[in-house]
Symmetry: C2
Subunit: 152 residues, 2 copies
Amino acid sequence: MNVSYINPFISSTIDTFKTMLHADISPGKPRIKEGSAPTFDISGVIGLSGDAIGAIALSFPKLVSLKIVSALLGMPVKVVGPELTDGIGELANIISGYAKQGLKEYKLSISLPNVIVGKGHTIAAPTGVPTVIVPFDSTFGEFVLEVSLKTK
Amino acid sequence: MNVSYINPFISSTIDTFKTMLHADISPGKPRIKEGSAPTFDISGVIGLSGDAIGAIALSFPKLVSLKIVSALLGMPVKVVGPELTDGIGELANIISGYAKQGLKEYKLSISLPNVIVGKGHTIAAPTGVPTVIVPFDSTFGEFVLEVSLKTK
């Protein structure tokens, strides 16, 4: 299974954290998601379409998402509300936007972000489309990137 | 606020239930979503991009989603697993696909569905982009359609 399309998403996540948050983050080993393992509490989801179709999700424990959005806005965000969901949605948007530049062969376009809030929710992609999960470690705490892409 | 783009999504939902599930469903009055009211337990989310960008979500109580997917597959589906999430994702996919034919002016393309599983999760669209909620009543029970679209 060739999932080399994951690389632009990994680089884009690292670059976005560096540029927007002045934070160095480390990716762990990417793996194929088996079943519908629970993700975290807050997930930014963006649809991808074009010559490949798919979606990405960035999923964070609540505390980590609050720290990240506080850093992004330069002011403390302490509760789950519009500042938080807009911040996480914007982060997912920027990461997808950069990544698609590294995937020009798919002519990807990206949707508006939706941000899912709910303790221990899971996100399922269609059976047969591999979802690659990349765990990240950061000074804010751990989070994951999930990418499902159906290439033609 | 002109949200007439909701109409093709409503018609498409009604037609899809009629064609795929031989079920008559009734839409309630569409309303603009305020804040991040909890949705139900199982949501099929699809991103939209093109000359407008956005996303739709179809959100169901667990029991309703099980009944719908059982009817869709013609076999009982009793637990939340891949049959259920694939069924709900496919339903969201078909509804989006029909709806975009009624919205040719936006040249919409649709992403892969993601299906969110989690009791009482909420789905937030970016602030400033209206989300229209349409409640539906059906023989399977109630569910909602949420559409966020940023027209240029």
